[in-house]
């Protein structure tokens, strides 16, 4: 696949360049705020990209994706609270636990389709939310403060803003590369085939659900990584990270940016979180504007921002 020069690819390339150069701008102007804001945005972009893998390419509308953010975060937070500060232990645990959770709920949820799938994934995420709320040893409802960020034995210092930003950005680009490779592999083509016509894929001899399940687990694992990053970024993890409105936010980012396009969720995360931030500086009632904007985007810009760009470049 040779990338073509068109509006959407140009925007994606510009965006990547801007993200890479952002710390330079921040250092030059002394604007620390923009760096912390974009660290958050990059982390959510990774989570949204992982959701896009199952939603956009796999046709699995998960309404419980924020659960992995919480699981990854709690893996880091709980291990840190128990005195295990090494990132070499914390992060693999975060990934493995997210993968296992995805395997468990995926194998149960994938028996259903459509709206029922949306609701059952939501149900599992809500269960995770209530379990976290009941962990009284680890803060319960109030959440858990992570006093020390993951320690990578001097390899990288997570408390340094710039280094942490580049780590997050590296994870995002790594995640996007992985998703790109998956989508264009034989495995990815089967998953997309199942999205378009499950019966036909079954008839040619593919076990549709096995492919779906593997895809679901990969997506959950990537999102677990985003959760580990998020806990390090906020130095805090609480059940609120897993609440269903958070899953809704992730869905909004994916749809806003453009479902089923590689860079769509990244653009969606940037636009959604920037809009939220900008509006909150003007008014404390940001929802009064953000809500109708979402409605208008759905009504008049189908396929999200990437879809809009695609239509523009086709003329």
């Amino acid at each position: 696949m040779k990338p073509k020069l068109n509006a959407s690819n140009a925007v994606a390339a510009l965006m990547c360049a801007a993200l890479i150069l952002l710390p330079v701008y921040s250092a030059a102007t002394g604007n620390i705020f923009i760096l912390t804001l974009f660290t958050r945005i990059v982390i959510f972009a990774l989570a949204a990209a992982s959701l896009n893998l199952i939603m956009g390419y796999g046709g699995m509308m998960s309404f419980g994706h924020a659960a992995y953010l919480g699981i990854g975060g709690y893996a880091v937070g709980i291990l840190a609270a128990e005195g295990i500060g090494s990132g070499f232990i914390q992060w693999p645990v975060a990934l493995v636990v997210s993968a296992l959770f995805a395997l468990l709920i995926g194998s149960l949820s994938l028996r259903t389709r459509g709206v029922y799938f949306i609701m059952i994934t939501l149900a599992f995420a809500q269960m995770a939310y209530y379990v976290a709320s009941a962990l009284s040893r680890y803060g319960g409802d109030d959440g858990l403060t992570v006093y020390k960020r993951s320690d990578f034995a001097g390899l990288i210092n997570l408390s340094d803003r710039t280094q942490f930003y580049y780590l997050c950005l590296g994870c995002l680009f790594g995640g996007l590369y992985l998703i790109w490779r998956i989508v264009n592999s034989r495995f990815g083509l089967v998953v997309q085939g199942v999205r378009s016509n499950e019966q036909r894929m079954q008839a040619i001899g593919f076990h549709a659900n096995r492919y779906r399940l593997v895809c679901f687990v990969i997506s959950g694992t990537i999102c677990g990584l985003a959760g580990a990053l998020l806990a390090n970024n906020t130095d805090f993890v609480s059940p609120a990270v897993m609440y269903w409105t958070r899953s809704g936010d992730l869905m909004v980012m994916v749809i806003l940016g453009g479902m089923g396009s590689l860079f769509g969720p990244v653009i969606g995360a940037i636009v959604y979180l920037l809009l939220e931030e900008l509006l909150s500086q003007f008014t404390e009632f940001s929802g009064l504007i953000l809500g109708p904007v979402l409605l208008l985007i759905v009504l008049f810009a189908r396929g999200g921002i990437m879809g809009l760009l695609g239509r523009m470049s086709r003329g």
């Binding site: 939603m55 509308m61 309404f63 149960l108 949820s109 028996r111 259903t112 389709r113 459509g114 709206v115 029922y116 949306i118 609701m119 059952i120 939501l122 149900a123 599992f124 809500q126 269960m127 209530y130 379990v131 709320s133 009941a134 962990l135 009284s136 040893r137 269903w244 409105t245 809704g248 869905m251 909004v252 749809i255 806003l256 479902m259 404390e284 009632f285 940001s286 929802g287 009064l288 953000l290 809500g291 109708p292 904007v293 979402l294 409605l295 985007i297 759905v298 009504l299 189908r302």
Partner: protein, 305 residues
């Protein structure tokens, strides 16, 4: 024993309230194939309208009736201005658009009524305890909720099963295009059904208001419960929604009331006090997951299209 009776009644009352919310949701879902996350916002608006109108008119009955009308009107306006353009679109588009509406309504309420919650005080005649069986007293207001909700459920049943409009609603649920082709004004029917759903959500909200505080975000938790109910009951089925709502209401209430004691018998004290709140909050979701794994289309799936 008295405690069990009381908790059963509480469960029944909660279940009936959930039914009012779920009935509108399942009608809109079944007939328009429309996922409305903003249904919880209509519930919240019902409660806020009631708190306002009751305070303005100084009459509980008049105030709640006005609030009911206001929610009905709001639902119709909402449908007419925005939501009717989303029928026939992808479910995801609908989720996104109505998620936007939740953000809008939450901040609109914060702007108009302020961030603090409101209270809706009950008139004196509704606060007296009533003796239902010898030795068992039950709050009159909760009994009123049960009676009103049962009456509304019966009325809904009669309207849907025995009237011409109801016939059209059922026809719409089984085949939208066909009743449009037969010359029925389907747009008007959809607006009507949406307004009815909104009024039912508003009624649930305003009846719940005196028991809980009226606050921002009150619709979000209960919306998810309503979705659980329509999924358990089978989407588009009012009968299914009724059964599932009672089921969920009673199990949720009984679980919260008795699970901690039961667990304490099995587990150690500390473990039980950690597990009990989580388990009783999760019970409903656990139930839904089990039902969906065993019956992927709910307990009472509506007739196939």
């Amino acid at each position: 024993m008295y405690l069990v009776v009381e908790q059963l009644l509480n469960g029944l009352q909660f279940g009936l309230l959930l039914f009012l919310l779920a009935a509108g949701l399942t009608l809109v879902f079944g007939i328009m194939d429309f996922v409305n996350l903003a249904h919880g916002s209509l519930y919240m608006m019902g409660a806020y309208f009631a708190a306002t109108f009751v305070a303005k008119t100084d009459s509980f009955v008049l105030g709640t009736l006005l609030a009911l009308g206001a929610t009905l009107l709001l639902g119709i306006v909402l449908e007419y201005v925005a939501l009717r353009h989303l029928y026939g679109r992808d479910h995801l588009d609908q989720v996104l658009a109505t998620f936007g509406l939740i953000l809008f309504f939450n901040d609109a309420v914060r702007l108009i009524w302020g961030p603090a919650g409101l209270a809706l005080p009950l008139p004196a005649w509704l606060t007296v305890p009533v003796q239902i069986i010898p030795g068992v007293y039950y709050p009159a207001y909760r009994l009123t909720i049960i009676v009103v909700a049962l009456a509304v459920a019966a009325m809904l049943y009669l309207v849907v099963m025995r009237t011409r409009v109801g016939m059209l609603i059922r026809a719409g649920a089984s085949n939208r295009e066909m009743i449009g082709a037969l010359g029925i004004n389907i747009k008007l029917l959809f607006t009507l059904v949406f307004g009815l759903g909104a009024a039912l959500a508003g009624l649930a909200g305003l009846m719940q208001a005196p028991i809980l505080t009226v606050q921002i975000g009150m619709g979000e938790n209960i919306l998810i419960l309503a979705f659980v109910i329509i999924v358990i009951g089978g989407i588009g089925s009012i009968r299914g929604a009724f059964m599932a709502a009672l089921f969920v209401g009673i199990i949720d209430t009984m679980g919260r009331a008795f699970l901690p004691d039961l667990l304490r018998k099995v587990l150690s004290g500390a473990a039980a006090s950690t597990a009990a709140p989580a388990l009783s909050s999760m019970l409903i979701y656990l139930l839904m997951a089990i039902i969906l794994v065993l019956r992927p289309e709910g307990l009472f799936p509506a007739a196939k299209r």
